[in-house]
Structure formats: C-alpha cells, structure tokens
C-alpha cells in the first residue's frame, strides 16, 4: 500500500515539475497562431480585471508580452507603414504588461484599467500590423 502511495506521489511530482511556470508558454510557430494567442491573452487580462482578480493579471499579460516579443524580429519583413506602427506598439505591449503587473500587485483598479486600455490599444496595433501582412 505504502509503495503504491509513494509511486502515486512520485508520479504526481513528475507531472508537476514538468509543468512550465504559469507565466511562460510555448510560442506558436506561425504569425496567425501568435495573433490568435494575443487576442486570447487580451480577453483574459480584461476578464481578470473585471472579476477583480488583480493579482492574477500578470499571467496573461506576461504571456502576451512574450508573444509580442516573438513578433519583434519579424517586423522587419512588414511593409514600411505597418512596420512603423508595429515596432513601437510591441514595445508598448511590453511596457504596459509590466505596469499591469505592478498595478495588479498594488491592487489599484483605477490604474489597472488605465494600463489595460493602453495595453489593449497596443495589442490591437500589433495585431492589425501583422494581420494585414498575411
């Protein structure tokens, strides 16, 4: 019985340790998949703020910034006008993701909502710039 329990717990541990940290996720290989993931993270951040779950906002926000950073090297292939908007927008996604984290820690709804508005606008610019290139 004990041996069985030990095996079960060991198996659980293996599964747990194999799970990556919540903030990281595999980056999809194609731009459309990345854009779809970005839209999802945007909705998740919005829903967490609406639900008052401020301390969890950082998870989808950081996932979105990692996805946006993955797009940064690809911005050079965009048409000039799309590139002009994409590069600074990606930078803003990163900056506002970190601000969402900071305001989430502080439990500051008002600042979180302002940061989310800027974050969502930057995400929308990134999506528009890259979606037009598909």
């Amino acid at each position: 019985m004990n041996r069985l329990c030990i095996r079960a717990v060991t198996g659980l541990l293996i599964v747990l340790l194999a799970v990556p940290p919540l903030s990281s996720l595999p980056i999809p290989g194609t731009v459309p998949e990345i854009l779809e993931q970005l839209r999802t993270r945007d909705r998740q951040v919005r829903d967490l703020i609406r639900a008052g779950n401020f301390r969890a906002v950082w998870v989808p926000a950081f996932q979105a910034k990692d996805l946006a950073i993955a797009l940064e090297p690809r911005a050079g292939h965009l048409a000039p006008r799309a590139r002009e908007s994409a590069e600074p927008a990606i930078q803003r996604v990163v900056r506002f993701a970190w601000l969402l984290d900071a305001f989430g820690d502080a439990g500051d709804r008002q600042q979180l909502e302002k940061a989310y508005a800027a974050f969502a606008a930057a995400l929308a610019e990134v999506v528009t710039a890259f979606a037009g290139a598909q």
């Binding site: 004990n2 329990c5 030990i6 717990v9 060991t10 659980l12 541990l13 747990l16 340790l17 799970v19 940290p21 919540l22 903030s23 301390r55 969890a56 950082w58 998870v59 950081f62 910034k65 946006a68 950073i69 940064e72 590139r83 002009e84 590069e87 600074p88 990606i90 930078q91 996604v93 990163v94 900056r95 970190w98 601000l99 984290d101 900071a102 305001f103 502080a106 600042q111 302002k114 940061a115 800027a118």
Partner: protein, 378 residues
C-alpha cells in the same frame, strides 16, 4: 491506528511544497533567466553607458553588477514609465539617425532582471569603465576652450553658466558639426551653443548645438552647414549639476567647444519655427532635424506635415523630457514643398506611475514649440 511510513510522509511533504510553489500562489517566480554579465551588461553598456559609468554625469554606474543592483527598483520604475532612456520617440527609432531606444526584448530583459533577483551571471564583477571623454567625431578643425574654469562651491548643487567665446576667423565659415567636450564630465549636465548673429541671411540657424551627455553629435551631410559669421561670438550656456556623489564638494570645469568645418560651397541651414497649431511652408525646403524648445517637457507632442498633393508624413511624435532637449536628425531629409501644412499638437502627458516612480513636472503647453533645421529645396 494505522502506522504511516516515514518515506510516505516525506513524499507527501515534498509534493505539498511542490504544489505550493508552482500552482497555488499564482504569482511570479523570483528567478530571472537573464543575468547581469550575459544579458544586462551588453544592453546597458550600449544604451546607458555614456552617462551611467564611473565619473559619468548620472548618479550611478550601471556597468558593474555591484553598482547596478542597489538601483534595481529605480531602474524598473524609470523603464516602466518610459522616462529612461530619455529620448525615445513614439514612432520607430530608425526614422531618426540618432535615436537609440531599447527594443522590446531589451526592455523586457532589463525589467525581468531587476524583478527577478538581479543574478550576476558567470562573468561576475566586471571592472568599472571610466567615462569615455573624447571627441566622438575625432579631432575638431578648431577647438575653443572656455575662457576660464567654472567653479561650483561646496554649497552649490546646480548652476547655469553663460559664457562668451570670440571666434578667431576672419571670414564666414560653414560648420558641419559643433560639439562640446566637458572638462569634468561628472557635472556637465547639458549645454546650448549658439552664435550671436551679426550678419547673414534671415533665419540662419543660430542654435549650433544642443548638447546632452550620451548624445554624440551628428554631422550635417555634404552640401549643408551652420553659418558662423566672421568674428562672431559663440554663446555657450552650460548647466552644471552635482549628483549625490559630489554633494558638499567643490567642483570645477573647463569645457571646450569643437568646430568641424563643412566643405564649401554648401547651403546655410535655416531655422523654421513651429508653434502649436498649423504652419504653412512658404518656400520649398528639406528638413534635416527637429528639436523642441528646451523648456518643453511632460507633454505629448506630435508634428505632422500634409503636402499640397495630400500626402501626410509624421515628422515626430515624442514626449520631451525636462533637461534632455536635443536634436532629432531625420534618417533622410524630409521634402516639404511650398504650401505644406505642418500641424503641431501638444497634450499633457497622462503618465501611469507605478509605485516608486517619480512624477514629472506638470506640462506647460505654452512651451509647445519646435524648430526645424531646413535647407532650400529646388
């Protein structure tokens, strides 16, 4: 009562700890995958090292792990607010010759490192690099030292000094660049070098250089030059500022101005002032650079040109920072035909300040003024 084996107890305890550390508290891990030596130092050396180095004008060196770690919170606040680096533009940096902002990845590396335990990395403590106090463009064609040293007594923290330099040239010269070499880099915070115009064409650009540390001069391309009339005086206005390291110490400086002559013939660079609102271009010009009124700060400023053919081009969108007025050189000259309308807007910069960030002074929109450096375009 059934006996529970020690092995099972230990296994369950480990599982509980693992659960608690990975899933139950949805909060960030505290270990940065980025280290100072491998990831942070290459970024700060390139993007911050001109000021944030031993003997530099910034209040701390970021080029050693020991120097950077105590400032982690401040670094994070400055980066999150966008206060540093001090000359980021809202658009892409490659539209300008001298804007070296952080990429998104670089920004994330620095923020992750400051939040994630500031690990040193394998290289350990690097040697502190002294400030690189040389002429970035090489030896000037003429060097004009300040007539005498300026001394900040131990009781003074901040001072603006205006000095006059007589130029020794018996004929007008055209200059491709003007630079300042601080005598004591640790206290020279900014400088404006202008020419006291006595002759020359109307609107000849008299602001020859807006010097801030870490912003090497950009020479004008062939075919253009700043006019320096024969025997003209240069007005050098230097702002001195002591950081906490030099408080209560007497400090002296004797800086020098370097002049780089342009190949002649060349067009004289002229100043085209832009107020908030719309300015109509009277003669066709090519714009080479743009700079804000030195008093302009904490506003979001945007200048957009609309040509007579309907084409629109954003000249610049940025948030000038107090004390960091400098020229933004266009990567390519911007053609502005006669009749082009340039609209300049300025709005108060509604900052989002994370805990620990220092607010900027309130915006004074009456100072929303820009100047274009232009040459005739035919």
């Amino acid at each position: 009562m059934a006996r529970v084996s020690p092995a099972l107890t230990a296994a369950v305890a480990v599982a509980v700890i693992a659960l608690a550390s990975t899933r139950s508290d949805a909060h960030k891990p505290v270990t940065s995958p980025y280290t100072f030596a491998e990831d942070v130092l290459p970024i700060v050396r390139e993007k911050c090292g001109a000021c944030h180095t031993a003997g530099g004008v910034a209040p701390m060196s970021l080029l050693t792990h020991a120097g950077a770690v105590p400032w982690g919170e401040s670094i994070r606040a400055e980066l999150m607010t966008g206060h540093m680096p001090p000359w980021q533009v809202d658009g892409p940096s490659w539209r300008f010759r001298n804007v070296r902002g952080l990429t998104a990845r670089e920004l994330d590396v620095l923020l992750t490192w400051t939040k994630g335990g500031t690990p040193p990395g394998k290289a350990g403590a690097a040697a502190a690099l002294p400030v690189d106090n040389r002429w970035p463009l090489g030896a000037p064609d003429a060097v004009l030292p300040m007539p005498s040293s300026v001394t900040l007594p131990a009781t003074a923290q901040d001072r603006i000094e205006e000095l006059t330099l007589r130029t020794p040239f018996d004929r007008a010269r055209l200059l491709r660049a003007v630079d300042l070499l601080p005598g004591t880099p640790a206290i020279v915070r900014s400088a404006t070098i202008s020419v006291r115009a006595t002759a020359g064409p109307a609107n000849a650009q008299d602001t020859l250089a807006l010097w801030v540390p870490g912003d090497p001069p950009v020479p004008l391309a062939a075919g253009a030059g700043f006019l320096l009339p024969a025997g003209a005086d240069l007005i050098v206005r230097i702002r001195y500022l002591k950081t906490w390291e030099y408080e209560h110490r007497e400090m002296s400086d004797r800086s020098s101005v370097g002049l780089y002559f342009a190949d002649e013939p060349a067009e004289t660079v002229r100043a085209l002032g832009l107020q908030r609102g719309t300015t109509v271009i009277g003669e066709p010009v090519r714009a080479l650079a743009v700079y804000p009124d030195p008093a302009l700060a904490t506003a979001h400023v945007r200048a957009v040109a609309t040509r007579p053919d309907g084409s629109r081009e954003e000249l610049i969108a940025f948030r000038p920072r107090p004390g960091w007025a400098r020229r933004y050189w266009f990567a390519e000259p911007v053609a502005l035909p006669r009749g082009t309308r340039i609209e300049v807007t300025g709005t108060p910069d509604a900052e989002l300040l994370p805990p620990g960030a220092l607010p900027q002074p309130p915006a004074d929109l009456s100072t929303v003024r820009l100047t274009l450096d232009v040459v005739p375009w035919s």
